[in-house]
């Protein structure tokens, strides 16, 4: 913004911005055979999901395994986890901008783009959970009826969309200026970066409050829920980013410094332990106290009156998390990619179960009249969920595909103009 180097280079935004958008579109459809194969596979899965959703909208949500007893299922489970993933990206932003870590600064956009992709997936999971997606406009302030501030769901709408806009702005602004070959003006993005840090905390806190504030569901009605949400988000987020960085490292020519990965591992070492500590605290409170408030936890961990559909899930999660913790605590983990990747995959899968099915479903079992009706998602729900994951990965892949060449200066307005 400050000073335009030459007119032919940067010129007016009216010229350079459409050029930038067009260049991104071109970049997004270019790649090697692996890129095409990956994108085609993801598109196929996304379309299968879209088809399943079309069936669900037409036939009604009775085609899922949800019921009046377990009225939220795999969709809201994934939604909850996905909010954490979006918030987790901030664990790159903090070292990069608060501690001015150079290695992290080079790759921080990977985390910010993850936030964008994850929020799109969050919105997707909410939309497919609506019985009347055609009435989505009822939630738009002004033309609909936005029950703010009483309904926590309206807070969630605000924080999630706000977080999306902030990250779109930061990434868009930085990329556009890189493309134009101009140093970004800190005034136009640094304040937003700081807002995004606080905002990241807010998205997962508000999402926890959705559940935590319901007095009729003792399993969720604990003050520990929001802190645990955040801690687990700061495990799953860095875990996913490390995996993404490793993939970028192996499949592209972009340099990913060891420093960034080391910091993320150090963050995970702390957060995964705090998460385990909170788990122990929660389990202790439930089982030492006993009484009928413990029924959901009993159902989740050990089964209740012969019903135990979630028991294998949660012990898988506990096992994964414990193994991931041990691997991460091993000093050699940063030098052994196989070990690190295993640890990240296990941590990510462990949190996905715990913050998904392991959190949402027991809230409904037993139900508020203490009846036990079990739930496991059916194939249609898996297809829709896989479709949203695929769509999210499409967004993330394209975002990285577009961002990296611009970020590293490989593609720029100058080069495009001279070509």
């Amino acid at each position: 913004m400050s000073k335009t180097p030459t007119n032919e280079n940067a010129g007016s935004h009216l010229v350079s911005y459409p050029k930038f958008i067009w260049r991104m579109c071109v970049l997004a459809t270019e790649g090697n055979w692996l890129f095409y194969a990956w994108m085609i596979a993801l598109t196929a899965v996304a379309l299968v999901g879209l088809n399943a959703w079309a069936v669900q909208v037409t036939e009604g949500m009775g085609v899922t395994n949800m019921s009046d007893h377990v009225s939220w299922g795999l969709y809201i489970a994934n939604f909850t986890f996905m909010v954490g993933l979006a918030a987790g990206g901030v664990m790159m932003v903090i070292p990069a901008y608060l501690y001015h870590d150079e290695d992290m600064h080079d790759v921080v956009i990977i985390g910010e783009l993850l936030a964008i992709a994850a929020i799109f997936m969050c919105i997707g999971f909410v939309v497919v959970d609506l019985g009347r997606p055609d009435r989505f406009w009822h939630m738009i302030p002004g033309i609909g009826k936005f029950h703010f501030p009483v309904s926590m769901l309206t807070w969630d709408v605000i924080v999630l969309n706000g977080y999306l806009l902030i990250n779109l702005h930061i990434c868009g602004y930085l990329l556009y200026n890189r493309y134009r070959g101009i140093a970004p003006n800190p005034r136009w993005y640094i304040p937003f970066v700081f807002v995004s840090i606080a905002w990241a905390i807010s998205i997962h806190t508000v999402t926890a409050f959705l559940y935590q504030g319901l007095g009729g569901r003792p399993f969720w009605n604990t003050a520990l829920l929001a802190p645990r949400f955040l801690t687990s988000a700061f495990v799953s987020g860095p875990a996913f980013i490390i995996l993404a960085l490793e993939v970028i490292r192996y499949l592209s020519k972009y340099k990913v410094g060891d420093g960034a990965i080391k910091i993320l591992v150090n963050i995970m070492r702390v957060t995964i332990l705090i998460n385990l500590l909170m788990l122990v605290s929660e389990v202790f409170t439930e089982f030492y106290t006993g009484g009928s408030h413990t029924a959901s936890a009993q159902y989740l961990y050990f089964g209740l009156h012969g019903y135990n559909a979630l028991v294998p899930w949660i012990w898988t999660s506990v096992g994964f998390t414990v193994i991931a913790t041990l691997l991460l605590l091993c000093p050699k983990v940063t030098q052994k990619p196989a070990m690190l990747i295993t640890a990240c995959v296990l941590a990510f899968a462990g949190i996905w179960i715990e913050k998904g099915m392991g959190l949402i479903i027991p809230g409904f079992i037993p139900n508020t009249l203490h009846e036990i009706v079990e739930y496991l998602p059916n194939s249609l729900e898996w297809r829709i969920s896989a479709g949203i994951w695929a769509a999210g990965l499409i967004i993330y892949t394209l975002a990285i595909r577009v961002a990296m060449p611009i970020f590293t200066g490989e593609v720029s307005l100058k080069k495009d103009t001279h070509a």
């Binding site: 088809n51 036939e59 949500m61 609506l130 309904s151 769901l153 009249l369």
Partner: protein, 309 residues
């Protein structure tokens, strides 16, 4: 890309461009195929319904139009001639319900009457009332069950029907993101079936399992449809929205008693206007040791339970 590069790779680029075009076409075709089921759904949607305003913002003229449209749709979809009214709360009336647990025998006639009166989906056997068979000696619902069978009453059990408690501090109303559910002046918690987005947050928030979701379009044979319908109560609900007990608003606001009360063979149910000092409900509340369910949650139910002894 530099000049000489372009010339040597022209063929490759054009091949790639062709492939991209083929890919995009195939993708678009697959997309159209994927969303094809929506065409059947879209056929049943009307612009008027889509644009319809919130219940509390409809003018009387608009309401008339809406009711006419819904009556016509019911005729078209179900073949039944129905009359939909929109009775308003009466001044000086606040409804309350009390249930005598000493004489309830657990016959579930109330649940059945609710099913018929409120045009519930037949295949699922839905009802706003769930009757719990509780072991004598405990009020903890953990020791009750709703799926009991065999002759009733069993000597070691008592029976507790549970339906919407029409709370004065209803968590379901608080959580709704679009104000599709609210408390009416006479204490009834209502749902605008044409405004609800079907997020089911209210169902998660309710501590009494009072809310039901229309998982599919309700199936009711033409001859079984109750043609006397209320806009906020027993009209046939659309697919994908919440519903709940309305204390039979279409009856009680016109001076009649709820269907569940009329069906009760033992007289365990007492219903009336809590603001009327001479009402039976008032007498029960003043003379019996009544209690409410889950009082510790602060929901302030308008539904009371009591024992004779």
């Amino acid at each position: 890309m530099s000049e000489e590069n372009t010339s040597t790779t022209t063929n490759a680029i054009s091949r790639r461009t062709v492939l991209k075009g083929v890919g995009a076409t195939l993708g678009a075709a697959a997309f159209a195929k994927a969303i094809a089921p929506l065409t059947t759904w879209a056929k049943d949607q009307s612009v008027d319904e889509f644009l319809q305003n919130h219940y509390r913002e409809l003018t009387p003229e608009q309401m008339k139009e809406v009711i006419k449209r819904i009556e016509e749709d019911t005729k078209k979809d179900y073949g039944a001639d129905v009359t939909i009214k929109d009775p308003k709360p009466q001044a000086g009336v606040k409804f309350a319900y009390a249930l005598n647990l000493s004489i309830c025998v657990g016959c579930r006639k109330c649940a059945k009457a609710c099913h018929v009166e409120n045009n519930h989906d037949r295949p699922s056997g839905n009802s706003y009332i769930r009757v719990l068979e509780m072991k004598k000696g405990s009020l903890d619902m953990a020791h009750g069950r709703a799926d009991y069978s065999g002759p009733v009453p069993k000597s070691d059990s008592f029976y507790m029907p549970v339906q919407c408690q029409q709370c004065d501090s209803p968590p379901c109303v608080d959580v709704c993101p679009v104000e599709a559910t609210w408390k009416e002046k006479d204490g009834i918690v209502a749902v605008d079936y044409n405004w609800c987005i079907g997020c089911r947050y209210c169902e998660a928030a309710c501590p009494y399992h009072a809310r039901r979701f229309n998982w599919s379009k309700p199936v009711v044979p033409k001859e079984e449809i109750n043609p006397v319908q209320g806009y906020l109560s027993n009209r046939i609900r659309p697919q994908g929205v919440m519903e709940k007990c309305t204390f039979c608003m279409h009856r009680t606001r016109e001076g009649k008693l709820p269907a569940c009360l009329e069906a009760c063979p033992t007289g365990a149910r007492v219903f009336g206007n809590i603001l009327d000092p001479d009402s039976e409900i008032r007498w029960v509340l003043e003379n019996k040791r009544v209690f409410v369910l889950k009082e510790e949650l602060g929901t302030k139910p308008s539904f009371y339970y009591f024992f004779d002894e």
